[in-house]
Symmetry: C2
Subunit: 356 residues, 2 copies
């Protein structure tokens, strides 16, 4: 369905859109074969024997008629699409989008693009989307916080993935270190009764994060009482679920001076719940987030948090896929790529007060 019916196709000086000029037309225009044009335009070594004069004619005609190679045709022939698929739970929670920035940064150098698909943690989509992406001939898949349910036939890197699936590389945070840093920070501030918000089951980091935190607390001999463990509920991450979980925590009556949230989003909800219950943050209760999402620094109080290098994780994921594709699949394909957390101390944690 051509949009602007051009009277004279091929006389289109505008853009490479629908009425674009094909290599064939360009060749006819020049009285040469498509072979020659292709060789010259792609600067193949085979084109060495073509005289400069002819080359110039070709290049200037290409420019003049605004020739743009058709990526579909090229991809079909080359069996390469220079396109990845990206699976995310959702885009606007501040987590995935940071990862995507990193992905894009790594891809753009190599002329790759990506198709985004959100699965919203819905089973049907988790099953269908990878299939559809593969049908679309993506060369690899980057998943973000997404359970992998298939044995892939193409490079797959899962950011924050923990399932060990053959052929899948996981980019993960060094959770043990994160837990030690986080618990250590709270411990150093004098906190001995720490509550923990555990993530929803669908988040792939949930188990590791929870377990490593419990362990780090045990090692400091300040075990987390079971009444101070609360799991987030609800279908998607949001401040509301942190708010609700913290409310529950409060009504148990069990005292705590610090709260280690599953992530920044739930920490923000937790702060609201605490303040509504008359507990000031950080004077009465310290709150520790996780992720360091966009805006955490400007929350009120500014969030102390465990930064995940999300941009870097996205970039690493993309670089890994690209590397696998380029055949440099190093003999020792590391299936787990670990990145380091950084403790970012801001205003939501403070020395424990005697008053409580």
């Amino acid at each position: 369905m051509p949009r602007k019916a051009k009277a004279i196709p091929g006389e289109n000086g505008q853009s490479g859109g629908r009425g674009a000029v094909s290599l064939k037309q360009l060749a006819a225009h020049l009285g040469l074969s498509t072979t020659t044009l292709s060789l010259v335009l792609n600067k193949r070594p085979t084109a060495d024997s073509i005289p400069e004069e002819t080359k110039k004619r070709i290049f200037s005609a290409a420019k003049e008629l605004n020739y743009r190679p058709n990526y579909l045709a090229r991809s079909l022939r080359a069996q390469r699409t220079h396109t990845l698929g990206v699976l995310v739970p959702e885009l606007s929670d501040g987590y995935s989008s940071m990862v995507l920035n990193g992905v894009e940064a790594a891809l753009s150098n190599d002329g790759f693009f990506y198709l985004t698909a959100s699965h919203l943690h819905r089973d049907d989509l988790l099953e269908k989307l990878p299939r559809v992406l593969v049908e679309r001939q993506v060369e690899g898949i980057i998943a973000v916080d997404t359970p992998i349910r298939f044995e892939p036939d193409l490079p797959v890197v899962n950011v924050s993935g923990h399932d060990e699936i053959a052929g899948v590389t996981n980019v993960v945070l060094n959770h043990q270190h994160a837990a030690e840093l986080g618990i250590g920070h709270l411990y150093d501030l004098g906190h001995r009764k720490i509550a923990v918000l555990k993530g929803q089951d669908f988040s792939s980091d949930t188990e590791v994060r929870f377990e490593t935190i419990l362990k780090a607390a045990d090692q400091r001999e300040i075990p987390i009482a079971s009444k101070l463990r609360q799991q987030l509920e609800g279908d998607l991450p949001s401040p509301e679920v942190g708010y609700a979980a913290t409310k529950k925590l409060i009504v148990t009556g069990e005292k705590f001076t610090a709260l280690f949230a599953f992530n920044d989003v739930s920490a923000i909800g937790a702060i609201r719940a605490l303040e509504e219950a008359g507990m000031r943050v950080p004077e009465d209760v310290s709150v520790m987030g996780f992720d360091d999402i966009y805006g955490a620094a400007f929350h009120n109080p500014a969030l102390t948090t465990m930064r995940q290098p999300l941009f870097e994780m996205g970039r690493l994921a993309a670089k890994t896929v690209l590397q696998e594709l380029s055949g440099e699949r190093n003999e020792n394909p590391e299936r787990i790529l670990s990145v380091e957390p950084t403790l970012i101390i801001r205003q939501s944690t403070a020395r424990v007060s005697k008053a409580v």
Copy 2:
């Protein structure tokens, strides 16, 4: 570069990846022609005369050998890619990602996907990315807060765009209404000295938003003093720029009881600056945001803001492109699609206090 060298291509029971079985192979396997298979598999009316029995053989063989049509080949032939290009400034500022959610919601029904490209408001990218997307044979482009520098040959919808370019549809907020609601709200709370943060020049909403706010204030006879107009500076939106602009505003010494920020992100920075200067929000100064980004409700204080229906705008943009593509390009192609703002009253605005 096949990833897992399959000994017997075509005997691949796994996935539709690299070693995928082609229609030709499937046809050979069945002793039929590709024509017949294509007709049957796509349920073309022409296939009516094929006996059920044969059809069943075809379908079950397709399932068994895990046949997946190659989207490239199909697209090349049909001259339809079912793919759009999406141009955004950046993904993680909480604005674009909400729009993208809406885009995706509208596209997924129709089997469309999209390629995302971030231009970071950089001139070179603003020039190059649309070209590359067109080369990739996208059928249309959705731009978000992006200046359009080209006369497109394909459907283009710009969300929050204000340039009138032939062939470009703009999805815009009813800014006049927004300004009246916002100023009206502050006025009703008794505010007479209102400061305004104007957006950066690269944001397409900057001028309209500023002008409509000034006008709405004039109409209420509380004109915005020029010392109370401050423009955001910096290459990207961020709380920092709101913070810096508000600092500047404060040092002028000019008193104000309310501040109408350019957007939520800058409002959040403004709040930080005000509180650092010893002014409480909303007790001493009311702050009004714009957009209602993810998390605005859970900011401290919860942000009063002018909600833009970002998801809806994304959906509308996508639906419009799809409609243009389906040829239902209604005789009267509205080039401006307006959506309504909603005033969301939370905690960052309050009745003006006599004390100040």
